[in-house]
Amino acid sequence: MADPVDEESGEAGPLDLTPQASRPQRRARNPFSIAVLLLVVAGVVFVLLRTLGDASLFFYEVDEAVSLRAELGSERFRVVGTPQPGLVETRLDGQAAVVFTLCVADVLADVAHLGDPAELFQPGVPVVLQGFWVSGEPPGIGSLTAAAGDGWYLRTDHMVVKHDNDYRGADAELESCGVHS
């Protein structure tokens, strides 16, 4: 290390050891970490927006969906209910569809689901469907023994299974609803 140099004489001067006010240091930046931080913040914002955006699509139970039918109109919503025994495979507007009946608290609603049902779709296992109310009766409804038959049906195109919390195998109990359980 070079000795301090006297600016006027150009010769090395004595070392100045008097305390000095520290100069503000420019902090080193780590672009990768800052990019990750920004991505994380963007991710949290995205998740919150998606969740809030979907907040209007929380699940109505079948009895709520039936009682709110006039208010819901043709609006899309999610509905949860227990499928009753009986399924009709048919076609609706040129597409493959299945027709069945949902139940909650002994209130029934007929459903025409476009596309294949979920792999684990079974009577007694609750499902969450996404769709809207349609006036009329779906094709094949006459074959169902436990149909609502109230002149309305749910036309749905998205089905997920809401499995229960019972892991007792053969002793497990099914959701009880309607005339069949």
Partner: protein, 266 residues
Amino acid sequence: MVDTTTTTASPGSRLLGLTTLVGLAGLILFAFVLTEPDVRLHPTTGEEFGQFDAVRLLYLHVPMAVLTYAAFLTCAVASAGYLLKRRPWWDVTAHASAEVGTVFCGLVLVTGSIWGRPVWNTWWEWGDVRLMTTLVLFLLFTGYLALRRTPAEPQRQARRAAIVALVAVLDIPLINRSVEWWENRTLHQQSTLAELKIEDLTLFTLMLGLVVFGLVFAWLMLHRFRVGWLEHAQAGHEVALAIAERHAEMETLDVDAAIGRTGGAR
């Protein structure tokens, strides 16, 4: 001088590692071979239904979720400890548990998604409140780890990280209670253990999973803590080395001044 040949292994950690490996092998045996698939006979239709083989993922997914909570709660306790005591031990513990917890949380999201496809009929459901809060937890602790890598004075960095951890951990009660509080916003089931709707080998295997993943957590924590502690010691050593070098320079300057040498003469 820091011994660079130091490893994070010790006889105790090797024994723990071996026990963990044996436990993992046992868990795989029970989860994928000895337990029965979830198959029930429908009382009305007589058809088979249930989760079938997908239920086996439960023995990995649930213990990992529990250990995610444990890791982040450890991080929060250690962060609070650091803010109160300002000892590096707490900070290193918080950092280690956050890293392990983030790995577990990522695996929870992945195994849950793989399980959700056959059981729920979807890989991911944006409206599901438990999925969302778990994803937020993962992102928060990823942010925590990124924050720890941003250059800053060590004490300040540790203080910032501790505050972030204490805020992030508030998400855990939301995740845990979401299935009760927002029952109609989640596909997740309600508690199985609380209602005793699990028994026999299924229950045993789930408990075995909790023990084995507890061992995995302990082993990872032990090594990550030791790595963190070595890093801490190394950083302290580097500072000490820099000070020593500076002292040596000053002494050289003093000697030069005493014998009348100038900078250009060297």
